[in-house]
Symmetry: C2
Subunit: 228 residues, 2 copies
DNA sequence: GCAAAAGTGTTGCTCCTACACCCATGG
DNA sequence: CCATGGGTGTAGGAGCAACACTTTTGC
């Protein structure tokens, strides 16, 4: 009823933790703030939610505006609303995390006005607001999720080598994995399609594979439980 | 900057999916709405977030006010903000789920004014707003979580029998489990303490156990990974 | 003494882990 | 021909699933 609308309302924002993988380690895309507060400090891309705009749409819009990213894997993380997390007053932020493939990575100068850059997830600069806490929560989620859901593919090129895949898992889980066992297990799942294409490089070419989402979805419907 | 505050703001609420277990099946605590919209319809307990109030605090306050529950396991689920989910206008709701032990269940008449009641998770009445969707999301989360985190204990009495524990898992996972294998696995984890107390009833008494959180936390720190 | 739930071991099999060498290519 | 990463099989052990009967109690 009308009076419910007389409550003072917090401001509502979205923030995105954007993960990438460069073949070596996990990376995070940050933007340098162009306004106060925290002018000049690195921060997660994000901004205010419009009225009449779905939360996920707001996150995608901010990603597009601030980092020129679109069509990425995006999932809600959780909402951060501790009073005092924003010096301007009560601001509640719905956090998302995104996974982007190397071929989607924005080129330098791709982002307008504000500066955007990739940082290693293990060597982060100081961040604005409580963005460090949000980022750590996203890292925890990713580390948990990657073990029992095949989200790793969202961080690799559409066509990838098994070694790339293994390097990704080693980077995220933070420990070395046995090459033979890893490949055996992965191929046994039977949702990777070996292609007749090979990587290029100065050494022996590696066979490329792609993820067969259709087959994976079918397996899941049959009660299959992915786990690495 | 001042102008950031001139954005129109959605109203912000919290809603709680409260799970219980009666020894037979999973249950959900609902309240009957006493105001429009959806007057008289069953709904999740919840309400508006106060300025200067943390989100989790708001959820606990609403639980206390509407269901007299306190000191329960409570965790954020996710935030629902699709425009149109509330006929009164833009309302964004941060959803939580709670797990309560039988001895915490509110007695009839314990809740003031509004009516509260437990429903079987498999026989729910029509719900207000998008609360059905929130509830399904909470069920999914619980089913996933219970497999790799020992949250089941939060739904059982402090002291419980292994059969109760098995019945809980069977109810949530929706399939029968082998008694001997279940007990063997559970006891091998070594974080259940067998007590010298026994259940009462008209048949052979069962030994009571309790969960040793201290031991469990220590195992987790050593890299232990719970999974049933 | 009977109905009802508690409690208990073994076996076969599957899946996991550990482990080392040859292959293909570019330079 | 050398440096670099790609690719492959096996054996031992751990853990999982399948399975049935005896015990204790209240009535």
């Amino acid at each position: 009823m009308a009076h419910t609308y007389e409550y003072p309302r917090p401001a509502l924002t979205v923030d995105c933790v954007v993960f990438g993988f460069d073949g070596e380690g996990l990376q995070v895309l940050l933007i340098r703030r162009g306004v106060e507060p925290f002018l000049g400090t690195w921060a997660l891309p994000g901004g205010f939610v419009h009225m009449e705009e779905d939360l996920e749409d707001a996150a995608r819009r901010e990603l597009r505006e601030e980092t020129s990213l679109s069509d990425v894997f995006l999932e809600q993380l959780r909402t951060f609303g501790t009073p005092g997390r924003d010096p301007r007053g009560r601001v509640v932020s719905v956090a998302f995390y995104a996974l982007v493939r190397p071929e989607q990575h924005p080129a330098k100068g791709d982002t307008d006005a504000s500066e955007a850059a990739w940082f290693s997830a293990t060597a982060l600069p100081p961040l604005a607001f409580d963005h460090r806490e949000i980022l750590e929560a996203a890292l925890d989620r990713l580390r948990g999720k990657i073990r029992y859901q095949p989200v790793g593919f969202e961080l690799l090129p559409k066509r990838f080598t098994l070694s790339q895949f293994q390097a990704l898992y080693e980077a995220i889980l933070g420990r070395p994995l046995d090459k033979r066992n890893f490949r055996k297990k992965l191929l046994a799942f039977d949702f990777l399609i070996p292609l007749d294409e090979f990587s290029e490089g100065s050494h022996r070419p590696a066979r490329l594979h792609r993820f067969d989402r259709r087959k994976y979805d079918a397996l899941v419907r049959k009660g299959f439980h992915f786990e690495i």
